[in-house]
């Protein structure tokens, strides 16, 4: 093993260690997604294919809800992918640190570019000014390999054994609780709160629009409200 490989190896394990605490967050979501998917009637192979290829809890739950509402395929895809659009922002933010990695490595980095790995790496990478691109990549992939196996395995447990949980446990409500658990900690600023409130009221007010299209319109309005609130706060400060 060359010395460069040794250094990359230690960066890998640092990434693994930094991301490991987030297993505690990912595993319950995976479990709940598995349960919710099997309750809806997705087969084990469908549930696992989605969870392995998509690894994005919020978007996966979104798809389940819209499938249950019999929304058209295009609306389901547009809404679920809109939930994931924030990751384009992650991708852009990683360019200064990982943009010089090899093409094949970047495919792997993109696969692991989830909320937790990005959150952890966006704190650590700017601090490690001496790291090579290989070390940064190893760090990022280490984080991804810490979380993803648990995400996949917990989904499997939920999907395989969720059906055995009796209805008294009201697991229909696990999905809304998971969403609240994603949203509530994200309401860090006034614009976030205003965007979320707009989303609720506009979605309820527009629910008469067919094909679940009201939700996408409500989301567009809520995004504009968030962005405008942010601009307004900035202007007031300066």
């Amino acid at each position: 093993m060359t010395s460069e490989q040794t250094i990359s190896k230690s960066a890998f394990w640092e990434g693994y260690r930094d991301c490991a605490p987030f297993i505690l967050v990912a595993a319950p979501f995976g479990l709940m997604f598995g349960v919710a998917a099997s309750e809806l009637g997705l087969s084990l192979i469908q549930t696992m294919t989605m969870t392995v290829l998509v690894i994005a809890g919020a978007a996966q739950f979104t798809a389940l809800i819209l499938i249950e509402e019999h929304a058209p395929t295009l609306i389901i895809l547009a809404t679920a992918l809109a939930v994931n659009l924030r990751m384009a922002m992650y991708s852009a933010a990683l360019v200064p640190y990982l943009g010089k990695a090899r093409g094949r490595t970047k495919l792997l980095l993109a696969y692991f570019n989830v909320d937790q790995t990005f959150g952890v790496a966006s704190v650590r990478l700017p601090l490690e000014t001496q790291w090579t691109v290989a070390q940064r990549s190893a760090y990022f992939i280490g984080g991804g390999l810490a979380i993803t196996p648990f995400w996949i395995f917990s989904t499997y447990l939920g999907a395989a054994f969720g059906a055995a949980i009796p209805p008294e446990f009201s697991l229909d409500f696990a999905m809304p609780i998971c969403f609240i658990a994603i949203i509530a900690p994200a309401l860090r600023t006034l614009p976030h709160v205003l965007a979320a409130a707009t989303s609720v009221f506009a979605a309820l007010a527009l629910s008469w629009i067919p094909f679940s299209l009201g939700l996408l319109i409500a989301a567009a309005i809520a995004m504009v409200v968030g962005a405008q609130a942010e601009l307004w706060l900035e202007r007031r400060k300066s």
Partner: protein
């Protein structure tokens, strides 16, 4: 409920390709191009703009009760939201929500 199998597989494939492309976009394709300020300003709010509107009807008219508002589920939602915001933690939100749900269901029989 019978599900349209073709639709489910199309959704899975579309989400897999779409999500991967979003994650790879700038890193693999667009490179060092800066996202314009206005785009960043809107992207920041995508998740909080969609998810609350998606679940509000599920909380008010839950499928588990056939669409009837249910005090246990409403209180569980309030507890999860309150704890999640206060502790800034997803774990706290999930556990306080589930505990409230079961406690109120038990108390109301």
């Amino acid at each position: 409920m019978t599900l349209d199998q073709t639709q489910i597989w199309i959704v899975i494939a579309g989400m897999a390709f779409g999500t991967f492309f979003i994650r790879w976009s700038f890193l693999g394709l667009l490179g060092d191009r800066e996202l314009p300020q206005w785009a960043l300003r809107h992207l920041r709010y995508t998740a909080v703009a969609i998810l609350p509107g998606l679940i509000a009807p599920l909380i008010l008219w839950p499928s588990g009760t056939g669409g009837e508002p249910d005090p246990a589920r409403l209180l569980a939602a309030v507890a999860a939201f309150g704890m999640g915001m206060w502790r800034k933690s997803a774990l706290w939100a999930i556990f306080s929500g589930l505990i409230t749900l079961y406690a109120v269901q038990y108390l109301l029989g």
